[in-house]
């Protein structure tokens, strides 16, 4: 039964409201997606004052009110969305004078992040990549870790290493340092992705050092101390323990959001260290005039990006820059692209019809890693 038919039936048979609603929810999967329209629906049989859709699609109102089906506690909201869009969302319930956020109780599709999980609405054109899970015969890499005593931060940091299946200590592998390493592993499947792409020979076997911040936003927000940590502490420690390259051209750094800021900032400060940057949804906020209008955490970031924009110095290296079109950061990333190219960087850029989330970053990993560390896909025949 379609939503319009339901509304008609409810109007015709108000006495059968609960029965009709139950039949409707049992017969459908939610959200209802038809063409490029997604219809969100809520009804749990309890008295409800209102429902809002909470989402993170920049350009749409963050809080979108549902329409009540007259005479019921059922609500719906139809949104036209781009064909390949993937939208994470929650419902805000207004009950008993309180507002409460919940996942869509009738949608099993969820995406996880450090703050919990959201419901997911994939539009018909969105396809989950086929390379996020390694093939059955994939030769898996291994994970190990060591503790790094950091003089710069005055504490100890856990460094988790990804070593490709073929890893041999006497060889020198390309190296990639990864900000927010735990979240990249947990929420963006990065270890599986590395295994799969290396197995498919789309990406060269490489070593990845995953690290995490403690006071993450302050450490990653264009903080010179993080550059010192990355370049003078982490890099030598990894090179001393593992078979990795000392060639800057084969040494990379990556991150998402503030992690991307930290990566670019480190390269800007120490341009002779990293030859590859993977920058996902970087918080590259800048101002032409006035205040940036965001939290004070952005102060050093804006100062850095403004300085970068005024700097005419050359920047070298290969970069993959990406951002979701549903992010408020999209315009800043688009603005950064010509800037980096003008400075001499070899940049590939991609956009997704997605937001500021870990699945979006997972889905762009193939673009980034194959650009930065291309494998012998065309040349290799077992």
């Amino acid at each position: 039964m379609k939503l319009l038919d339901l509304v008609e039936s409810l109007r015709a048979s108000p006495a059968a409201t609960d029965k009709l609603l139950k039949a409707f929810v049992d017969a459908n999967t939610f959200p209802l997606v038809e063409g490029d329209t997604a219809t969100f629906f809520f009804w749990d049989g309890e008295p409800t004052k209102g429902v809002n859709l909470m989402h993170w699609v920049f350009g749409l109102e963050t809080r979108q009110p549902f329409t009540r089906i007259l005479g019921t506690d059922a609500f719906y909201l139809s949104l036209e969305l781009p064909h390949r869009a993937r939208v994470e969302y929650k419902f805000e319930l207004l009950r008993g004078g309180r507002r409460r956020w919940i996942r869509d109780p009738r949608n099993d599709l969820q995406a996880f992040d450090p703050f919990g999980s959201n419901s997911v609405c994939p539009m018909p054109g969105y396809e989950e990549p086929n390379w996020i899970h390694p093939a059955e015969n994939c030769r898996r890499g291994r994970i190990e870790s060591f503790t790094l005593k950091s003089a710069e931060w005055g504490d100890e940091r856990e460094v988790t290493m990804y070593l490709p299946n073929e890893y041999k200590p006497h060889k020198r592998y390309p190296l990639l340092l990864c900000h927010d390493g735990r979240d990249y592993r947990r929420f963006a499947n990065m270890v599986d992705v590395l295994d799969a792409l290396i197995h498919r020979r789309e990406v060269r076997p490489l070593v990845v050092a995953f690290v995490d911040g403690v006071d993450r936003n302050r450490e990653y927000g264009a903080n010179p101390r993080q550059t010192v940590f990355l370049v003078d502490e982490l890099l030598p420690a990894v090179r001393a323990r593992y078979g990795v390259t000392k060639d800057p051209a084969e040494t990379g750094v990556m991150g998402a959001s503030f992690g991307a800021v930290s990566s670019l900032f480190a390269h800007w400060q120490r341009p002779d260290v990293f030859g590859k940057l993977l920058l996902q949804s970087g918080s590259f906020v800048f101002t032409d005039v006035g205040h940036h209008g965001r939290s004070e955490l952005f102060d050093p970031v804006v100062e850095f990006v403004n300085a970068l924009r005024n700097d005419t110095g050359k920047l070298e290296g290969r970069t993959h820059l990406s951002c979701g079109v549903f992010e408020s950061l999209i315009q800043f990333n688009r603005a950064l692209l010509p800037l980096l190219r003008e400075r001499g960087m070899d940049v590939r850029y991609s956009e997704a019809q997605d937001g500021h989330n870990w699945i979006a970053w997972r889905d762009r990993l193939r673009d980034g890693l194959t650009w930065l560390y291309p494998g012998h896909l065309w040349m290799w025949y077992d």
């Binding site: 789309e202 193939r366 040349m379 290799w380 025949y381 077992d382």
Partner: protein, 320 residues
Amino acid sequence: MSGDLFLLGPQRPNPNLGEALERIPGTGPIVTITAGWRLDEGEIDALHAVVGPDAVHLPLYQWFEECMETMPETRRRYKQRQRELRRVKELYRIRLHRALEAVRALHERADQDNELVEKQLEWALADVRRIDRQFVDHSKSLFAAYTDVSRPWELPEVAARRKESAEKLSSARAILIAGGHVAVLRNRMLFFGVHQQLFQAWLQKTAVVAWGAGAMVLTDPIVLFYDDPPDGPSHPEILDSGLALVQDTVVLPDAEKRLRLRDRMRVRLLAGRFRPHQCVAMENGAFLEMKDGGWVQRGERGTASVLEPTGEVVPLEPIA
């Protein structure tokens, strides 16, 4: 009269090299060439365990690295030539992609004015073939133009290795060429003149067994293929001329994974483009033997297939 010639499918996950070896009579050394494995060239334990005590390794990749270290001028000239060859490849791609785009556009109109389009399609495909041919010719002439490195095996510093490979190959009962990086494998064999020695040995009844990139280097030209690279759909292209021990065949290892075999238009284009060569898809388990100028399938049905210019993929029936 020449030796046996066996082409195998990829050796993962289930190797069938042992079956091929069982068909090679007599005793004597079996030479293994694994230069396509690049830095892992020396990791031959598993391979030699299958071959047995007669296994003798020919470490061409290692030899090449040693030569490059001790022959700076040769290295400089060699790299210079490789750079030029890469440039030629880039230019070839520009023409090739445009020509293939025309073929694709005509294919899309094939239902409308069939007869008219077919004629144009034939010419468009001829354009693609001409571009392929010109690329190979251009590469060959460039290769030859670097006279000082076009026959490196004649250089005194290379002579000792050349002699060693000649001794090993001329006394071999069989020569095995493993897969891996097809360009590296081809170039290392050419550097030491192993292609000539291989041909001589084969003419004197030494068996040749090759798989993956090893099978590809025996053909001419060598065709690279992968329909769905990360950058989006692509088309096969020619790497360069091959050793031409195998005539009239384009070998396509792992074609199920690498090609859209269910896309009739792409299959038709690939098969038609390289005609009169026969495009042979080889999966794990494929076991082809050259007999009277044609292929006999000794593996299971479905492991080797021929791509037909009609767009069909026809399995090679196993020999009874």
